[in-house]
């Protein structure tokens, strides 16, 4: 097996193991560490995490596929996640999703050919008072308009 955590991630992982009464409870945070380190959770990464924690790959894969924030496929450098739930829709989200799609030239669920952007529609991001909202990687962008989206996308290089 060629994959392995860096020394720094390994240390983080050792620390998080101390926070739980068993190794099973460390599965979710370990998958996050793996996603950060390796980009996405490929089959190879799942095998590595299974081996690291001492569970079957099926057990780890079952968890990884249950939760939407674990990327089983590669995503672009910037993962654009536009909320499509009701509060955002009432404030124009449908139109903004079309605008983003047109601007970067891919449909929701797709990644641009240069690997820069992945566009996803997501459910409520818990930011309804500042709708419409989009999450780009870890950051929220709120009160979106066509103009502000253009400026945000132009800044993501």
């Amino acid at each position: 097996m060629s994959l392995a955590f860096s020394e720094e991630t390994r240390a983080k992982h050792d620390r998080l193991l101390t926070r739980y009464p068993n190794r099973e409870a460390a599965i979710l945070p370990t998958l996050y560490l793996a996603q950060r380190e390796f980009g996405h959770l490929s089959d190879e990464v799942i095998l590595y995490v299974a081996d690291l924690l001492g569970f079957t790959p099926a057990r780890i894969y079952g968890v990884a596929t249950f939760y939407t924030m674990y990327n089983k496929k590669p995503v672009g450098k910037y993962h654009l996640q536009v909320c499509r739930n009701l509060s955002c829709s009432l404030m124009g989200a449908e139109h903004l999703i079309e605008h983003v799609a047109m601007k970067i030239g891919v449909k929701p669920g797709e990644t641009t050919a240069d690997g820069r952007f992945t566009l996803s529609t997501v459910e409520c991001l818990g930011s309804c008072g500042t709708a419409p909202v989009m999450q780009v990687n870890d950051d929220y962008y709120e009160n979106l308009t066509e103009e502000s989206i253009d400026a945000i996308l132009d800044g993501l290089r």
Partner: protein, 423 residues
């Protein structure tokens, strides 16, 4: 009016321990350590602090469900998996006043003789998690967490556990499974978490806002907290979120004795751009919708029940005239279909079917009998599943149809959306 939570939220430094303590923070904890554990629980019972996560169950009563014997260590879980559409209040507490939550956690754990706490925060809240983790680290460094807190001989460890994008993980047994490293599948109850919860231990799961109220209750007493609500059995203030096209969307800290009309027109400034009100979803997407002429109702739990709906998470979604109610419901059903965990057939299949039928009605392909079919599917979902997600989907579906039936019929009759398939 006295503010329990948001008084200092305008102060950017309030999230840091030094400013928090300068403004009186952690004094409630000192007081709590001088009280008996029973006395603290008694104050919370008197306070009529009802769970702020949506169900409104009295926190003190819930705590009373823990088994009396201490042979098995107990766990406190904080539900910070805020995901009910229309709800964005816990995020505010965690980003502006994380130490309110941490102080509430220490007091609660002390009162419940618990030495382990997990804060389950939704994965999308990366920024809030960072702020909260910083606050937890500060609290450890200054002796408000860890061993022998404030020299009172009480130990407590707090760990933030990050969710990964599943709405269902806000259901308390699903939260527990997710902390244990499993899929977020709700558990069959009984046993209830208070007897068999996280890692098989007696566990209490409380919402962020609920626990953030605890320091104020300890400082000022349960009776005063109860009185703040202004409505019988509805203690304290509540963080009410208003979203949709209003002039001042946002979070307002309000007593229960406020009418829904005041929330929308006085606090949130009414609808913007001259729009008129069509409907209101009062407590997050799962609560039954109200028509524009039904908002003269007091926003306490019992009055809202009498009005056929719920306070829920007090996330008010304002729907203006000109909105297609079929499309709005279709958006909500897409959400429930996406978030059903798949464990129970009535929910997994039912939510999917509701979404499909609504989609075809909205897109001009509705069939005669589709409305009756939706109501029939609802009947086969409500109350027939392990958790309340199916009920949460049924409540908007039924209420939208009961109150806006003509719009559904018109879509099917005309084989098109009268609003042009747009919001």
């Amino acid at each position: 009016m006295e503010l329990v939570l948001t008084k200092h939220f305008g102060n950017e430094r309030y999230r840091h321990l030094d400013t928090y303590t300068e403004l009186g923070g952690y004094e409630a904890l000192r007081k709590a350590f001088s009280m008996s554990k029973e006395a603290i629980v008694e104050e919370v019972k008197k306070a009529n602090l009802r769970g702020r996560g949506g169900a409104g169950f009295p926190a003190g009563v819930k705590w009373g469900f823990l088994p009396k014997d201490l042979s098995r260590p107990r766990v406190l879980v904080i539900n910070a998996d805020e995901g009910e559409p229309g709800t964005f209040k816990d995020r505010l507490i965690m980003s502006r006043g994380p130490h309110l939550l941490i102080e509430g956690i220490v007091i609660t754990c002390y009162a419940l003789e618990t030495h382990v706490c997990y804060i389950y925060i939704r994965g999308e809240f990366a920024r809030e998690e960072g702020i909260l983790q910083e606050a937890v680290d500060e609290a450890y460094a200054k002796g408000f967490l860890g061993k022998d807190i404030l020299g009172a001989g009480f130990d407590l460890d707090v760990t933030i556990h990050r969710g990964a994008g599943a709405y269902i993980c806000g259901e308390e047994t699903s939260t527990i499974n997710s902390i244990e490293g499993k899929r977020g599948w709700p558990r069959v109850k009984p046993p209830f978490p208070a007897s068999v919860g996280a890692f098989g231990r007696p566990t209490i799961v409380n919402n962020v806002e609920t626990i953030a109220d605890v320091p104020w209750i300890v400082t000022h007493g349960g009776d005063r907290f109860h009185a703040l609500g202004g409505a019988e059995k509805n203690g304290g203030t509540r963080l009410v979120g208003v979203s949709g096209p209003v002039n001042r969307p946002g979070i307002y800290e309000l007593p229960a004795a406020v009418s829904l009309r005041e929330v929308i027109y006085t606090h949130a400034g009414g609808l913007k751009d001259g729009k008129t009100l069509k409907a209101v979803i009062p407590g997050g997407s799962s609560t039954p919708v109200l028509k524009a002429n039904e908002i003269d109702v007091t926003f306490d739990i019992e009055s809202m029940q009498k009005a056929g709906t719920m306070t829920g998470t007090s996330g008010v979604i304002v729907i203006p005239e000109g909105t297609c109610m079929v499309r709005a419901l279709s958006v909500l059903m897409n959400f429930y279909a996406h978030e059903s965990c798949g464990q129970c057939t009535p929910c997994r299949e039912g939510c999917g079917w509701l979404a499909k039928i609504l989609h075809r009605i909205e897109n001009g392909q509705g069939r005669k009998g589709d409305v009756a079919l939706i109501l029939d599917v609802c009947d086969h979902m409500m109350g027939r599943t392990i958790c309340a997600l199916a009920d949460a989907a049924v409540m908007p579906a039924q209420s939208f149809i009961w109150k806006f039936r003509e719009e559904f019929d018109q879509h099917i009759r005309d084989q098109k959306c009268p609003y042009g398939n747009r919001f």
